[in-house]
Amino acid sequence: MSSHYEAPIRRPLIIGDKSYHDITVEVAAPVEGKANKLWWTAFTIALLAFLWGIGSIIYTIGTGIGVWGLNKTVGWAWDITNFVWWVGIGHAGTLISAVLLLFRQKWRMGINRSAEAMTIFSVVQAGLFPVIHMGRVWNAHFVLPIPNQFGTLWTNFNSPLLWDVFAISTYLSVSLVFWWTGLLPDFAMLRDRAVRPFQKKIYSLLSFGWTGRAKDWQRFEEVSLVLAGLATPLVLSVHTIVSFDFATSVIPGWHTTIFPPYFVAGAVFSGFAMVNTLLIIMRKVSNLEAYITKQHIELMNIVIMITGSIVGCAYITELFIAWYSGVEYEQYAFLNRATGPYWWAYLLMMSCNVFSPQFMWSKKLRQSITFSFIISIVVNIGMWFERFVIIVTSLHRDYLPSSWTMFSPTFVDIGIYVGTIGFFFVLFLLYARTFPVIAQAEVKSILKSSGENYKLHRDAGGKNPAPGKKVIKAVKATSEPVEEVLGEKNVLLGSLGVFDKATQTADDLKLISGVGPKLEGVLNNIGIYSFDQVSKMTEKEYDLLDSLLDSFQGRAKRDDWAGQAKNLKNNG
């Protein structure tokens, strides 16, 4: 149909000959299948790191912030570095789902679900640091303007730290509802496929009874669009406000008006790098290479290249302005960053963030999966050091040379940081096994415009893969094939066992996903009534069934009727 037209120059976003049903099956497969050894190994490592982190947090709260490497000169170090690093990573998800939605970029659909999950999980990690840094965690609610026993003691709304509280909690909660609303149709898909009662119950609960009425879809699309419109300025505001934590102070190296756009670009940069890290692994492990294609990775690499270059321009602008301002303190701060005792951190930041993304100008390199993965890790390291450089090098040389010092982290600092990485991966690994990791409903809606086979049909005159309209024949089929069909029926029943209506009760075959009332009728006509019979099906029986039912080619095998029936038989 012409309405699905997409220019041939756009590369396909869904590889292979997929039908709507194939998308369902392949997105549901990681959830319905069993976890492999690799998953359990990764999960165990992440869980151990998380437990170590919990131990370090408990030790910090029990003993005091003194167990960290902070001193009276360097009062912010690993904690705030980690906080800004995690918030930055949490920017890509909303950028992909909101900004790319406003720009009608179809490639967002393969990756938005996981990017949003990553956003939410990393903002959770980010939020931990300021809370722990408070020391008396049990008073954390003091950051909220809630009525208290002091009567008129309110929070200070002039403070950027309080703006941060509002910005990050709004960001976290809005991202969460955005994510969940998009998940409803996909949870509904899992619910309607679920065979075991427990899974069915859980996914019914999670899908909020999503039904897919035309009106619901109309509202769904409008809500997504408005949420995207709201989330776009929101995501820009979050890192802007994080940068205000520094920019509104009078510390040389922090007191910079360029900070908000520079921080936002840096956040998008690190966020996309983390999305690349996670998705390059996930597309392989969960067999989703048809949906998260090389094209997706290449486009993310281009975003990394552009935002990395913006960050590079910001670094150079800072240096220029420090020199041009004529302010000695400012000049010293930047000279000290590059040539002082933390020169190695500065060099690491420059080479990872400015130099390494420039490789992406080469088409060959940005299409290489291995290279993209390496760069994504390099960028994550570089962006951690960027925050470390900004925070620690500006503080360790303060106004009094007698208090000049260095910062070294203790095992508790490291423990909490590693712990949050563990926590993040615990959440992400659990997500990858229980959530529909691709927005399958949305991907189905672009199948006809961006699916490889559909594009081939339009551009090169291949066969249209869409099911055609069935023409009702005026003349009924002659009786000749019936004999042959009867013969096949008998062969089929011979291997599946004959169902005796008098002694056995028929099962509800509609419970098998892929079987509807009509198909059930057809199966009953053949003589198949029970799960027991269906569960005995093998390759041979599937082929026989296909020859009997010409409109359901290969469906029984793809849906694994036998496996489903076995489950149903045992649970029934």
């Binding site: 149909m1 309405s3 709507y20 049903h21 369902t24 303007p145 008129t152 309110w154 200070n156 709304f157 002039n158 703006w163 509002f166 910005a167 709004t170 909660s173 809005v174 509802v177 609303t181 409803l184 149709p185 509904a188 898909m189 619910r191 309607d192 496929r193 019914s204 609960l205 909020f208 009874g209 999503w210 039904t211 897919g212 009425r213 035309a214 009106k215 619901d216 879809w217 109309q218 509202r219 769904f220 409008e222 809500v223 408005v226 709201l230 300025p233 929101l234 505001s237 399958q440 409903a441 949305e442 189905k444 006809k448 869409a466 099911p467 309209k469 069935k470 996903s513 509807g516 009332p517």
Partner: protein, 173 residues
């Protein structure tokens, strides 16, 4: 009025769209269409009115904005004006620039959450709500059109069969 409906199932969105147009042209009443993904233009083809949910979002945003102004004026200016860092809190308008970030955040907070809650209430979506799709395949790859029967069952069935349906079911609603 009879509550009998015919559920015609389709296996392709384009066939469904044509069918919807044909059924509408023949003046049969489409009760509902269930689809596994948003089919663009279906709401217009069915003659559904546009949704007003974006307007509610704007109004909720205004509520959030006003709430932020009221809250910060009450807490910082009205109830206990303090001089913080040499910046006294005597007048709302002079202190206003510092309040802009939170005014923005609360506008977004109210607009986003209340709009989503409105959407969930209007579309009857909440935890423990039972799904009402007529066939589990409608969240997979099947499209179901429900057409009201008005004493013309036979005629309607043969009409729908010509629109490319793959399954037809008559049920009481």
């Amino acid at each position: 009025m009879s509550s009998k409906v015919i559920q015609a199932m389709y296996n392709d969105d384009d066939i469904l769209m044509d069918a919807v147009k044909e059924v509408r042209a023949a003046h049969h009443h489409i009760e509902e269409v269930y689809t596994p993904f948003p089919v663009h233009g279906l709401d217009k083809a069915m003659g559904l009115k546009g949704t007003r949910i974006a307007i509610t979002a704007f109004m909720y945003g205004c509520v959030g904005f006003s709430f932020a102004i009221w809250m910060m004026n009450y807490m910082m200016i009205d109830q206990w004006p303090q001089d913080i860092g040499g910046k006294p809190s005597f007048s709302f308008f002079q202190n206003m620039p510092a309040f802009v970030p939170i005014m923005f955040e609360l506008s977004v907070f109210f607009a986003a959450h209340l709009m989503v809650i409105t959407f969930y209430m209007r579309s009857r979506l909440w935890p423990f709500k039972k799904a009402e799709n007529p066939d589990p395949r409608t969240t997979d790859d099947m499209f179901v059109m429900e057409v009201a029967v008005d004493g013309n069952e036979k005629e309607l069935i043969s009409f729908l069969e010509n629109t490319g349906t793959v399954e037809i079911k008559v049920t009481e609603k």
